[in-house]
């Protein structure tokens, strides 16, 4: 697999719009709900269009636009998105009106915008893209599914550009549901070092990360993706270790070739158990940067990790707020993500 990342756009809990300072002011926020730092959307989308857009549509469209600008493209050959939750704000709005009004006096707007493919469709509409258009929703593997599709698309269609994005919104009603379901970490249990957690639960995050991918390297190329793989059900520590060995072997890499590891620890003591064992046993000599204490846990947090990895590789610099004294060459970055200790994925990002 050789995929070049020729443009990126990321909206997250950190200031990821300002790429020049590159997380220079990043902070670990000890809060259970990590909302996105939103740009002034008017800089990107006409105000009359913005009014009709829900939170996730705004985040998605603007992150997509930024990635296209970076890649110096106005259109693409495919738009592929992944979202675990879909358009929850509109879904919740329509569902609550059905319940409150007993199925009467409803308006269609929120229903129309509630389908998971709304953002991919809206991007197509905005840039007038009649090409391939796909939306995946597989909880913690939603973004990776999109990425695997992009890889196949680039194989099938030489000299093409694919826009791929992972996005999820953390609106209040969803957060409330997760609190009631017991998935959110209690305020008093939140600590800055996510890997040292001794308690259950995670902090909910949100964001949209988009990438313009191609099999052609050009002057805007930032990094390359060497491999991506998903696992629907990992059966323990040994299984993860075996799968990782196979994955690295396929890429002709060994553990020693990994300059930096980004593990998807969510802060939940149970869910992180296998990852922590893995980090300790296999990567004791490898530099590690955790990312979910920056962006929060959500279905497509791995898209944020890919943005982080590709920017680190491009700049050959790890933000000081994440790691002090790093002067090594950053050749290969491995992302190992997990969602609820069931769905796992590997992504390998390399310099080029």
């Amino acid at each position: 697999m050789v995929i070049y990342i020729n443009g990126t756009g990321c909206i997250s809990h950190q200031n990821t719009i300002d790429v020049d300072t590159f997380l220079g002011n990043s902070q670990i926020t000890c809060q259970p709900l990590l909302l996105a730092q939103e740009p002034d959307y008017k800089d990107y989308v006409p105000a009359n269009m913005l009014r009709r857009m829900s939170h996730i549509i705004k985040m998605g469209i603007v992150a997509a636009k930024i990635s296209l600008q970076q890649a110096e493209l106005e259109n693409v050959d495919a738009i592929i998105t992944g979202t675990g939750l879909g358009c929850f704000e509109d879904t919740d709005k329509f569902l609550k009106t059905i319940i409150e009004n007993n199925e009467q006096l409803l308006t269609p707007t929120s229903f129309i915008q509630s389908t998971h493919n709304t953002v991919a469709g809206q991007i197509a509409l905005l840039i007038k893209c009649h090409n391939y258009n796909f939306t995946y929703t597989q909880q913690g593997l939603s973004f990776e599914s999109a990425l695997i599709d992009a890889d196949m698309f680039l194989n099938e269609n030489k000299n093409s550009n694919v826009l791929v994005g992972g996005l999820d919104e953390a609106i209040q009603p969803y957060y409330d549901l997760l609190v009631k379901a017991g998935h959110i970490k209690k305020q008093e249990d939140i600590i800055t070092e996510i890997e040292k957690n001794k308690t259950k639960g995670f902090c909910l995050g949100e964001g949209a990360s988009f990438f313009v991918l191609s099999n052609q390297k050009n002057k805007t190329t930032k990094a390359q993706i060497k491999g991506v793989k998903t696992y629907a059900a990992i059966k323990g520590s040994d299984d993860l270790k075996n799968q990782l060995a196979i994955f690295l072997q396929e890429l002709n890499l060994s553990i020693n070739d990994i300059s930096l590891l980004l593990p998807g620890n969510s802060g939940d003591v149970e869910d992180d158990k296998i990852l922590n064992e893995n980090n300790k046993q296999l990567f004791s000599k490898t530099d590690i940067v955790y990312f979910k204490n920056l962006c929060g846990e959500f279905f497509t947090a791995s898209a944020f990790a890919l943005w982080l990895a590709s920017t680190i590789v491009e700049k050959q610099r790890i933000p000081k707020t994440l790691m002090h004294n790093n002067n090594k060459e950053l050749k290969n970055i491995l992302i190992i993500n997990q969602y609820r200790n069931t769905e796992y994925s590997f992504m390998c990002v390399s310099s080029c």
Partner: protein, 395 residues
């Protein structure tokens, strides 16, 4: 080449492939009075319900206290039949994937519990099964499929994209075998959604009729087993059909409405023909998207006209049997397309009497037996401009 070696389905016209075929051969619609969906509109509308309660579906699946919602059970039942028909007992022999499609996932369950959940102390944690991809996780787990699991949600074209993705994963040598399809259960959420859009017909839908008033909603699931040439040879598999073409495009016209000339539909059909690598005149039958809405049917007719020019193949919308089953529609219609090839029969478009004024196209309105059917084009279009076409061929 990608081969179909197993099929399974459940919908308003039957709980398996053989019941489905009987209903089609007898021109017996499954659309009728609403019995299971608890909506205030139930006495004023008809729908294509799967005529089993949640408990009955669980019994059919041979499960007890599974806690599965309606979408998951429909998905599981159709997958079970598809695997059995393909003679697959062990999903771990080859690199095997499960690709499902759904528009609302666990909504039929969530919408009943939402208020209570927010207002009181929850007894049941429905949010974990609400996610649209959750049914795929459960069904894949049930059958021991772990190599690749995902769900597509591109509104009413979802299952066509699941089928297409499966074929591409085989063609790209990522998987050897993949179960592809979709499932959607009727729920108040979608029922009221389509109702506010004023595109529900209160009576039987009349696809491609000049006086059509809208669609009837339905529910169900269908899955195909796709296998590579290598597996088919190694296992000496009986081939049911070949998936010879697939195309995906975006109309990029409006969030919900189709463009008047069906640009996206045209592009999807064109791409499917290119992948199949044959001319449009080889298509013997089109299983149309044909929802019965004013907008879809005239847009689709225009696109078909533009592709096929003077040689319009026979076409029909079998949504007049099943109702519009949303994300499952393309997979149910894929099964019907394959049945059409197997039986050399064109199943009719029910309730269509008056030709549309803006086109010369008119569907097949009565059962056509003994018609040689070698290649079937199946269309599916959805919100967000998503348009997909598939071509199934006789092996």
């Amino acid at each position: 080449m990608v081969f179909v070696t197993g099929i399974g389905t459940i919908s308003a016209i039957g709980k398996n492939v053989s019941e489905t075929l009987s209903s089609l051969l007898e021109s017996r619609t499954g659309i009728g009075k609403i019995n299971h969906l608890q909506t205030i509109h139930k006495d004023n509308y008809v729908a294509g319900e799967v005529n089993y309660s949640l408990q009955e579906l669980e019994n059919l699946a041979g499960l007890k206290n599974s806690n599965y919602n309606r979408t998951t059970l429909l998905s599981l039942l159709a997958t079970q039949e598809a695997l059995t028909s393909a003679g697959i007992k062990d999903a771990s022999t080859y690199r095997t994937g499960f690709i499902s499609a759904s528009s609302v996932g666990g909504m039929s369950h969530s919408e009943l519990l939402y208020k209570d959940f927010l207002e009181h102390n929850p007894h049941e944690n429905f949010i974990d099964t609400h996610y649209t991809g959750a049914h795929a996780t459960d069904v894949a787990k049930h059958f021991g499929i772990t190599d690749y699991v995902t769900t597509i949600s591109t509104a009413c074209s979802s299952a066509a994209n699941a089928i297409m993705l499966g074929a591409r994963l085989i063609n790209n040598n990522i998987l050897d075998r993949v179960i592809v399809g979709g499932a959607d259960a009727l729920c108040k959420f979608t029922f009221n959604g389509f109702n506010t859009l004023m595109i529900l017909d209160k009576e039987w839908c009349k696809p491609f009729d000049n006086n059509r008033k809208g669609l009837n909603l339905g529910e169900g699931a269908a899955y195909l087993v796709l296998e590579s040439e290598r597996v088919v040879k190694a296992e000496n598999k009986k081939i049911i059909a070949v998936l010879s073409g697939y195309g995906n495009a975006n109309d990029a016209f409006h969030q919900t409405a189709s463009s008047p000339d069906g640009q996206g539909a045209y592009a999807a059909m064109q791409k499917a023909l290119e992948v199949a690598n044959f001319f449009s005149n080889k298509i013997d039958y089109i299983n149309a998207h044909g929802t019965g809405t004013a907008n879809n049917d005239s847009s689709e007719a225009a696109a078909i006209q533009n592709i096929f020019k003077k040689n319009i193949p026979p076409f029909s919308s079998t949504k007049s049997f099943t109702g519009h089953t949303l994300a499952a529609a393309a997979s149910i219609e894929a099964v019907i397309s394959i049945l059409s090839i197997q039986n050399n029969t064109i199943f009719p478009n029910l309730n269509c009497v008056t030709p549309m004024q803006d086109t010369t196209l008119f569907p097949v309105t009565s059962l056509q037996k003994n018609t040689e059917i070698n290649h079937v084009l199946s269309n599916s279009f959805g919100f967000g401009g998503n348009c997909s076409s598939l071509i199934f061929s006789r092996n």
